[in-house]
């Protein structure tokens, strides 16, 4: 139970910090909306309504904007020795990863919640599927993104110019998530369900298991020193 308490404490702290700094929600959300603007400006008229354009633009914007906040996940803990403060907590160290990952997921979820309606509005699309299905798909995608992003953030925080390197380290690992996100949301828009793209659902779940599971074995090595 002390693990849950420590996890809750770290998430509470991150929310509190976010309230004061706006690093993980406000900035990424604004960037995602700006990217939407850029993409719409770049597309020839009429193309926007074609199948696949909305989902590709949406996920491109969300994934890129997300890195801005995710890169700070551990970079912020690096200053003033704060990470040591977390590691001194009387709980298994993977709890620190779990908490930071879940907080990152919450931030990404808020960013998506704010920016997605704008995308649907701009592209004149209706949801095409029940809201809960959208919740499941977007939730799984963002969980996978948060896990990989948090783990890599802990690595990048220890590198010279780590925040600059961060997207280059992260995106090759994210390819399965990005493809799954595009395919599943396309299926939601056109068929109203994910049954057509069942394999991608499996992929997402597998990816989540891998990236929430591997840190339990490896996180201790990441945060040493």
């Amino acid at each position: 139970m002390s693990v849950l308490r420590a996890v809750a404490a770290i998430i509470w702290k991150d929310l509190r910090l976010e309230w004061r700094t706006g690093e993980a929600i406000l900035t990424p959300a604004l960037l995602a909306l700006l990217l939407l603007l850029v993409i719409v400006f770049g597309l020839p008229p009429g193309v926007a309504r074609q199948e696949g354009v909305l989902t590709a633009s949406l996920w491109t914007a969300l994934f890129f904007a997300g890195t801005v906040g995710l890169a700070r996940t551990f970079a912020r803990e690096r200053a003033e020795g704060r990470l040591w403060g977390l590691l001194l907590a009387p709980v298994d160290r993977s709890a620190v990863f779990l908490a930071k990952g879940l907080a990152a997921f919450l931030f990404l979820a808020v960013v998506a919640l704010v920016t997605m309606p704008a995308f649907f509005g701009v592209f004149g699309q209706s949801l095409g599927a029940p809201l809960w299905r959208w919740g499941v798909v977007v939730g799984l995608v963002l969980l996978a993104y948060a896990a990989a992003g948090t783990l890599l953030s802990a690595v990048a925080a220890q590198l010279r110019a780590g925040e600059v390197l961060y997207p280059v380290l992260l995106f090759p690992l994210l390819v399965p998530v990005i493809l799954a996100a595009v395919h599943l949301t396309d299926a939601l828009l056109t068929t109203g369900g994910w049954e057509r793209e069942g394999v991608w659902m499996h992929m997402l779940i597998l990816y989540n298991i891998l990236f929430w599971g591997v840190p339990y074995l490896i996180f201790e090595y990441v945060v040493e020193v």
Binding site: V155, R160, V168, P172, L173, L179, M203, L210, V214
Partner: protein
């Protein structure tokens, strides 16, 4: 004490690898028969398969050496990891280039989003990122540790990347098909022999390169340590 001169095993490896590569090239470019529909272009295939196999082999070595380093903290394991990563990137580049030539000749495009090519390309990015991690980490211990972590994560992700590339789009020629548990190859026996020779020769080349690169790594680390000692002595 790290080696500064090639050991006997290294000399032997190199003296096996060099003629083997020449021999494999002879078989691939001259000895093997022309393919019926593709003609002489098909000969790219031998180089392509040889480098692809060695790319995957190298990254497997990076993975194993990384796990070993994280558990044992022996600098020599980290030296193997960085050496194998560089050689793996070299073979990946060869795989991509030969695949690209093949695509130009056969499908009339320089690039196709075939799952294996796509996976190989993303793998190339991953291991370039691996070298970036190494370049941006300060201190031998930290470099080894963070690179080790990244080496493990990257390798664990490769199969997922491959599956997703397969489901995304697919048009790679299936040379090897599994039918009812037995592997059957749609190839002339001479071609199979040539392919096997090419794979063996490139693997020998890989081993020779790896052992020399590891020695080089040891030497350069010794130089760095000596330089540090001189610096400390000058300071005090």
């Amino acid at each position: 004490m790290p080696m500064t001169r090639p050991s006997r095993a290294q000399t032997l490896l190199l003296s096996l690898a060099a003629p083997a590569v020449v021999f494999a090239l002879y078989m691939a470019l001259i000895w093997a028969p022309d393919e019926r529909t593709l003609g002489t272009v098909q000969r790219i295939f031998y180089i392509h398969v040889g480098s692809a196999w060695n790319a995957y082999l190298s990254f497997l070595i990076v993975f194993l050496a990384s796990v070993g380093y994280l558990l044992r903290r022996q600098a020599s394991l980290d030296a193997v990891a960085v050496s194998a990563a560089e050689i793996g990137i070299l073979f990946t580049t060869l795989t991509l280039a030969s695949g690209s030539f093949w695509a130009r000749a056969v499908w009339n495009v320089w690039w196709t989003w075939d799952p294996r090519l796509t996976t190989t390309l993303i793998m190339w990015f991953m291991y370039v990122a691996y070298l970036l991690v190494r370049a941006a980490a300060e201190g031998e211990e930290r470099r080894g540790r963070l690179a080790g972590v990244f080496g493990v994560i990257a390798f664990a992700t490769v199969p997922l990347v491959h599956f997703s590339a397969t489901w995304w789009r697919g048009m790679h020629p299936n040379i090897i098909q599994t039918q009812g548990g037995t592997i059957r190859m749609n190839m002339d026996p001479d071609m199979i022999v040539t392919m096997v020779v090419a794979v063996v020769a490139t693997t020998l080349l890989n081993a020779a390169l790896l052992s020399h690169r590891v020695s080089l790594e040891h030497v350069s680390r010794r130089v760095a340590a000596l330089r540090e000692r001189v610096r400390l002595e000058v300071e005090s």
